[in-house]
């Protein structure tokens, strides 16, 4: 075995002009960014304040940045696919041969699900949840950094496949037997599997982190029914992550064992069973889509309540519906393969279960409607996205219910009708929610609001573009067009494909507007400074701190005694007199947020007797996340190309880093009282900007 395993010069796409151009562009962009950062001398600040940060707010922002960058990459794939299909009718070959086209749609799906949707939602939850529950940070800040960097490692590894080697040609879920070595001997499937195994560890750790944070670090007085609804949906989503992602890890591990060690889980010979893979992957896959949509639902709940100036209608119903969706999402997985040959009883059962899950979703839609009713609605950009969601998502939900009827699915399974459905709910739901959250919480993160006009333009383009791009696909699916076609015989389908292509171009304009919005907003930020911390007249705790918040979030331990705590305080409803014991026990509460850092002594029940108020501390930054990720990329790359020494070095590097870190005494940084005083004085009393 050579020193470089399977790697050779032929791994570079020198003979394929399009792949070469794409790879060169990515490499050049990356190098330019690195050069710019070096030339401007930003490395020390970047390293200290971002790369090694364990602050949930910084990490949340980095997740969102990663998601937006990957949105560009995934969208380029989409544009290429639409262009190919607009051209390749009735014998015309288009410009993308099958070997290339098959990688493009596989990459598109993988990127959009794992590295855009997941990353965006995790980023929003990271940023917002600790603030909303009155905590100083997540339960495990260093683990948070590790999670982010492992995700970034997965992204890097996957993007390396653009330049060195190739990506999977199997679709975004790499079904066997096609993904087995016999039918996919190239490295593409291995890139996919290792990138996602690495990123998957990050996601699982993040799920544990957020769940622990929500369940164990809420501020004093914030019982479950006083928690913002976004935290409920975040909780449900992260419980699903904990319950579902291990299945993905296990299934990919089995496929890796088949490919690397000649096992026979899913092969065609010696007893392998590809149907087992299909069941396992969708047992993960269905909860995954709820992992994506539930935080988006939470965003919409917050945004609609805020910009209608009313509390969320039916809070308890919403919470129950959220947890019902969480539970039911594990009982519907078979609807992804009604056509695999299960009996009528089995198909019927899963069809009915799938429809039942539409009920709590319907309840949510009605509750949003009633939240709007009687409100005083301001058509801010986040609210526009929410209205767009309410209209668009229900159409996707309708087609989902249609697909849940097995005999209908027997016709349109794997057709463009299906493609239209899931883009309908993911774009209309997850992506619109991502943009709503982005516009809504941007001022909190950066201290100035985004430009409204460009925000509206982006929204308009996305809505128009979405309908143009995907309504024709519904029709094409009913006409018999299947998914993943690289060309088709029917000349009559081409006009619809062209309309879809136009839609993609309009969406491109929408993305361009978002980029322009960001640039313009930064340039003119002084005009839109958020000086009160509450630019929207918000209802929840994150609006009660400065924009951007200090590293420690809250100057003193938070106590709440109701829902929408910040809103009622603003509106003059001061709490009842708080008696001395309550104040004392509140003061005696341990530093809200974080555990396992420094040698903070474990208090028993914090209500047990008065203690001097602890000083405000923040955990020091840590390079362990980025270093582990570095070694993870080395490990992954080594495994993909069968470079034994590199994989071993990467693995040992991870172990060594963890060991080294575990011996470190990490003292929390005490926030100086002057800094606290400055923070308290800097903000006027909240009056709420209208």
């Amino acid at each position: 075995m050579s020193l470089l395993g399977k790697l050779s010069w032929s791994a570079l796409p020198l003979g394929q002009p399009i792949a070469l151009a794409a790879g060169a562009m990515v490499v050049l962009t990356a190098l330019s960014v690195l050069a710019l950062v070096t030339w401007k001398g930003w490395w020390p600040v970047l390293w200290r304040d971002w790369i090694t940060s364990v602050d949930h707010k910084r990490i949340g922002v980095m997740y969102v940045v990663l998601a937006l960058v990957m949105l560009l990459r995934g969208f380029v794939d989409a544009l290429m696919m639409r262009s190919q299909l607009a051209l390749a009718a009735a014998g015309a070959p288009g410009f993308l041969p099958p070997e290339h086209y098959n990688q493009i749609f596989s990459a598109h799906g993988t990127i959009m699900v794992f590295f855009v949707s997941m990353t965006f939602m995790v980023g929003l939850m990271n940023f917002v949840v600790p603030l909303q529950i009155g905590a100083r940070d997540m339960a495990f800040p260093v683990l948070n950094s590790v999670s982010f960097w492992l995700t970034a490692a997965g992204v890097l590894l996957m993007n390396l496949s653009l330049v060195v080697g190739e990506f999977a040609r199997t679709g975004w879920l790499v079904y066997p037997p096609l993904s087995e070595l016999a039918f996919s001997p190239q490295v593409g499937v291995d890139y996919y599997l290792w990138a996602l195994q690495i990123a998957g560890v990050g996601t699982l750790l993040s799920g544990i982190n957020l769940t622990t944070t929500i369940l164990k670090l809420r501020a004093r007085g914030m019982g479950y029914s006083r928690m913002p609804i976004f935290c409920w949906t975040a909780l449900a989503s992260n419980l699903l992550i904990i319950a579902a992602f291990p299945i993905l890890t296990a299934t990919f591990a089995m496929l890796l064992l088949d490919r690397y060690l000649g096992f026979h889980f899913f092969t065609n010979e010696l007893g392998g069973n590809a149907m087992m893979y299909v069941n396992l992957i969708w047992a993960w896959g269905h909860p995954e889509v709820y992992i994506l949509i539930l935080p988006a639902f939470g965003v919409f709940s917050e945004v609609i309540a805020t910009f209608a100036g009313k509390p969320l209608f039916g809070y308890r119903s919403m919470a129950i519906a959220t947890m019902a969706i969480c539970l039911l999402s594990f009982m519907v997985w078979l609807h992804h393969f009604f056509t695999m040959g299960a009996s009528a009883d089995v198909n019927g059962f899963f069809g009915v279960m799938t429809m039942i899950i539409a009920v709590p979703t319907g309840v949510k839609v009605f509750n949003w409607l009633f939240t709007l009713y009687g409100g005083t609605i301001r058509f801010s950009v986040p609210l526009l996205w929410s209205l767009g969601f309410m209209v668009t998502f229900v159409i996707g939900g309708m087609t989902g219910v249609l697909l849940a009827i097995p005999p209908v699915d027997f016709q349109v399974h794997n057709s463009l009708f299906l493609v239209a459905h899931f883009h309908n709910v993911i774009i209309g739901g997850v992506l619109f929610g991502a943009f709503a959250g982005y516009n809504h919480w941007f001022p909190k993160a950066f201290g100035f609001t985004l430009h409204e006009g460009w925000g509206r333009a982006s929204f308009g383009c996305w809505v128009v573009g979405f309908y143009l791009a995907f309504m024709p696909l519904y029709l094409l699916g009913l006409m018999g067009a299947t998914r993943r076609m690289q060309h088709y015989d029917e000349r009559g389908w081409q006009p619809l494909m062209v309309v879809a292509w136009v839609g993609a171009v309009v969406i491109l304009a929408g993305i361009a507007c978002t980029i322009v919005q960001l640039v313009v907003s930064i340039r003119t930020r002084d005009r839109r400074r958020d000086r009160t911390g509450d630019p929207w007249n918000g209802r929840t705790l994150e609006w009660s701190v400065a924009s951007p918040p200090p590293a420690w979030n809250f100057d003193s331990p938070v106590v709440v005694n109701g829902r929408d705590a910040f809103w009622t305080v603003k509106n003059g409803q001061e709490p009842e007199v708080v008696d001395a014991s309550f104040a004392t026990t509140a003061a005696a509460a341990p530093s809200p947020g974080r555990a396992g850092h420094g040698d903070g002594a474990d208090a028993g029940d914090p209500a047990a007797g008065a203690r001097p108020e602890p000083s405000v501390t923040v955990p020091p930054p840590s390079a362990v996340g980025v270093v582990i990720a570095f070694f993870a990329v080395a490990f992954g790359f080594g495994m993909v190309w069968h470079i034994g020494w590199l994989a071993l070095a990467g693995g040992l590097g991870i172990v060594a880093t963890v060991l080294r870190f575990s011996w470190l005494e990490r003292e929390e940084i005490v926030v100086a009282p002057e800094a606290l005083a400055r923070s308290a004085m800097a903000r006027p009393a909240p009056g709420g900007a209208a």
Binding site: I377, P406, T482
Partner: protein, 290 residues
């Protein structure tokens, strides 16, 4: 490329059913769409109307800033979707049984057995009783129930003729079953609906429904003129690549059964051991539930 799309192009796929299965599926599709539309169209209209009416600038709107709960509405909001879904769920349950691919179509005429094998990247159709086979082109008699037995020699595919009805996966080492019927003479496009690799888009075939006499004539002609489908011809067929149409005289005993058994698993839960399977195993794989 036509600039103005002709509406005739809409007459394809499930929108233009040519057999009872596809016709039932189209009916269910339309009915369910109407029922769902009756729910979501008002929701969409209400959303836009309510948002507009309660905009901040509207002085006529009566604001209710504390209205956050209503018991009766709660009941309505849970029960309306539940009722709609129960109704549609009933349709789903009944439809799953009536249109179960394995369910034979009621008929006085005996069904025609057709064995289907998906290869990389072509479709092989075997008519076992007549001892003929064809590639990428299937001729069937109008009005006779068609009983398909399907397998794959390579990766998963999905056999689909939208104008006739349901699709079903083809998987190595397993046999799936499908029952369809063509009620009118015509040529109906077929395809694979499960991505299977670089030649996937070329896995197109045609089902030609003809009269019984024409069908008998085609059988005879194929038996006489078709090349022998022997081990060598099979080996050539199995080479990855696409082909045009082919016709064969089957020259291998129990061709379909042997192709299934090549990847047979040994005993599977709920299935008879494939080693002793007759040439048309009547079992079908049940989705394994983890």
């Amino acid at each position: 490329m036509t600039v103005v799309p002709s509406l005739a192009v809409l007459q394809s796929g499930v929108l233009d059913p040519q057999g009872p299965v596809a016709a039932s599926q189209r009916l269910i599709l339309f009915n369910a769409s109407v029922i769902m539309a009756a729910v979501i169209v008002p929701v969409i209209v209400l959303t836009l109307a309510v948002a507009w009416w309660f905009r901040a600038g509207n002085r006529r709107a009566r604001r209710r800033p504390d209205w956050a709960y209503s018991g009766p509405l709660e009941v309505l909001v849970w029960s309306v979707p539940l009722l709609v879904i129960l109704f549609l769920g009933g349709i789903a349950w009944i439809g799953s049984h009536e249109l179960d691919p394995r369910r034979p179509l009621a008929s006085e005429v005996a069904p025609l057995d057709i064995e289907v094998v998906s290869l990389d990247w072509k479709w092989l159709f075997i008519l076992p009783r007549a001892g003929v086979a064809s590639v990428n082109h299937l001729v069937v008699p109008v009005g006779r129930p068609l009983r398909f037995h399907l397998t794959s020699t390579t990766v998963m595919n999905s056999f689909l003729v939208p104008q006739l009805g349901s699709q079903i996966y083809t998987m190595a080492g397993m046999t799936t079953e499908l029952n369809l019927r063509a009620d009118r003479a015509g040529v109906y496009p077929g395809l694979s609906a499960q991505f299977s690799g670089d030649g996937f888009s070329d896995m197109r075939f045609e089902v030609e429904a003809v009269s019984e006499e024409a069908f008998a004539g085609w059988l005879a002609a194929t038996a006489a003129e078709g090349r022998p489908l022997d081990a060598e011809a099979l080996r050539l067929l199995e080479r990855p690549g696409t082909t045009g149409r082919e016709r064969y005289r089957v020259a291998l005993p129990d061709l379909f059964g042997s192709l299934v058994r090549r990847h047979g698993h040994g005993a599977m839960p709920g299935m008879a051991a494939s080693a002793s399977a007759p040439s048309h195993p009547s079992h079908s794989p049940h989705a394994a539930s983890p």
